[in-house]
């Protein structure tokens, strides 16, 4: 290296060394620059392939029927048919579907979030006999897909309704009541946050006269707000997108959720792609809006992929 070169070296020699060092540095910089350009090109191509189907959905929803089958595909519709979005609401009670789904989603979300908080607190704050096996059991169920209990669940609700003499199939009860048990993934997620809260906080509050229940809502929940928001968002997404449960339990069209309504659209308007894509676009708007506004609360939890 030049720094260690003896001072007695002739000036010309030194200049040559310096020049090659500079050239090497330039070369290096050029190479990292090339690398980073290549990287961005590759990443952008992947990003493009993620976005194209969405763009295709939106552009199709605005096409006039004659342009749908044009080859090569048209990206910008010559005469955007905004009316398709109105037609969606006329063809099927889509507004009703949205209302149903909103109520269903809020009910399930409230139940899952509140109960999961309570259960996680029970595991995180207290030591008790059987804690370890119970927690491991709860964790183990995360791996079991809820789909296993779809047929058994239907039998259960049909039989319970029969026994009690009430109609439970074709109502929202089978979809909403199980939410009152919380959700194992959410429990585990919150549990990790709750245990990180020093016991001194809770015990100080306890010494000052607060009960365990008060401590949960006044100390633990406020201190874990991001975690609570995260499970609320996850729960919202999961319920809004839920399909199999609503599909089997709901029979009347006016009780349908958006997802079930969409598949009905497909059955009735199979070839009317613009209308179908307009309906699909409308159905994904709520989750996309939530995703963009709440992005920092999206936590890639390994376990959350196991549910639903």
């Amino acid at each position: 290296m030049t720094a260690t070169a003896p001072a007695t070296r002739p000036a010309a020699d030194r200049d040559r060394v310096l020049a090659t060092a500079a050239a090497r540095r330039r070369e290096q910089r050029r190479r990292t620059w090339h690398r980073s350009v290549a990287k961005h090109v590759a990443l952008s191509l992947v990003a493009l392939s993620m976005l194209l189907p969405f763009a295709w959905m939106v552009t199709t929803s605005l096409k006039a029927d004659g342009d749908v089958f044009a080859i090569p595909p048209q990206w910008v519709p010559t005469d955007p048919q905004w009316g398709h979005y109105r037609e969606v609401f006329e063809a099927l009670p889509f507004a009703r579907f949205f209302l149903n789904t909103a109520l269903y989603t809020v009910a399930v979300m409230a139940g899952e979030v509140l109960v999961s908080i309570v259960v996680a607190y029970g595991f995180a704050r207290f030591d008790f006999r059987g804690k370890k096996p119970l927690l491991l059991f709860l964790l183990g169920t995360i791996m079991l897909p809820g789909e296993i209990t779809i047929v058994p669940g239907y039998i259960f609700w049909a039989q319970v309704g029969d026994t009690l003499g009430v109609q439970l199939i074709n109502t929202y009860w089978p979809l909403v009541l199980p939410a009152l048990g919380g959700q194992a993934v959410h429990v585990f997620f919150l549990f990790q946050f709750f245990r990180a809260i020093p016991r001194d906080f809770a015990e100080a509050a306890y010494l000052n006269g607060a009960g365990w229940w008060t401590i949960l809502w006044r100390v633990f929940v406020p201190m874990s707000r991001p975690a609570v928001v995260t499970i609320a968002v996850t729960s919202f997404m999961g319920t809004w997108n839920a399909f199999l449960g609503p599909l089997i339990y709901l029979n009347d069209v006016e009780k349908f959720t958006v997802q079930v309504g969409l598949t009905m659209f497909r059955g009735q308007f199979e070839t009317d792609w613009p209308l179908l894509m307009a309906a699909t676009t409308l159905s994904v708007i709520p989750v996309l809006v939530l995703f963009f506004t709440m992005q920092r609360y999206f936590v890639p939890s390994r376990a959350s992929e196991a549910v639903r």
């Binding site: 961005h40 976005l51 295709w56 791996m143 809004w240 399909f243 969409l262 179908l276 894509m277 994904v284």
Partner: protein, 315 residues
Amino acid sequence: MPDPEPPPDAADRAARAAALVAARPRRRRISPAYAYIAPWFVAFAVFALVPMVMSLVMSLTDWPVIGSPTWRGLGNFTELARDQQFWRSLWVTVRFGVVSVPLGMAASLTVAMVLNSRVRGLGLYRTVYYLPAVVSGVAVGLIWRWVLDPSAGLVNGALAVVGVQGPGWLTDPAWVLPSYTMVALWGAGGGMLTYLVALNEVPKDLGEAATLQGAGWWARLWFVTLPLMRPILFYNLVMGIIGAFKKFNDAYVLGGAGGEGNFLMLHIYRTAFEHFRMGYASAMSWVFLLIVLAVTGLVFRFSDFWTFSRGNEES
């Protein structure tokens, strides 16, 4: 927490402190914790265990939803063993699981590694890649049914521009599995985020040490990064295969010629709610459960995933 007013008197404080001391080190006879954790366990018992037991009984009967079940003994299970359609649907499911899950993992791991090397605009890429994962399975199915449309779909339209006649993706049995793989790759962004997190946890000095000893990029990946990520890779593989078994929403919409899109869960659904054979579908659900339990057992045996939660508890 600030002092609440009115502050408790000294005696109350002392009593509470005593209760706290008594409660902490030893395990109390009846901890308040049981009341807190009860809802989940009660709900699990009522809404999962009881139905499973009921369906076990039902699996020994014929029940066409209307009327009362008739006893069939093990007839459903012997029929299942010889049921061509059922085995085909299992085969479709397993094939998808072992082909497209590793492919999706490799793809998302590659993208995660590129993203991990301090790229500008990381947040934007992450957002875009995650996008398909937040959309419902039904919407994914509808979008892709149209994208893969043989005559006017985006894929074949693009192929036509370069002069290639694209296949009938979902209408040609040979192309159904590749179609599903493509859809799965599109939605692999969710998995990519988990790898990004895991890569961040790989200690940097280990890679640097390897580099100093002359390890190249590949050697570093093979001998340092991947072994350290083994738990999450294994976990994702198993969850991906289980995911194939519960695959329903997009498959319900996408379909697929020649029964190639007839995934296990779809087959169970059709048996129960289109052919109204509840007893038979119950038997299938139990086979489904046993498969998942076997796969889960594998995880318990061969993965260090669970040491994480156990280690947590000891602290």
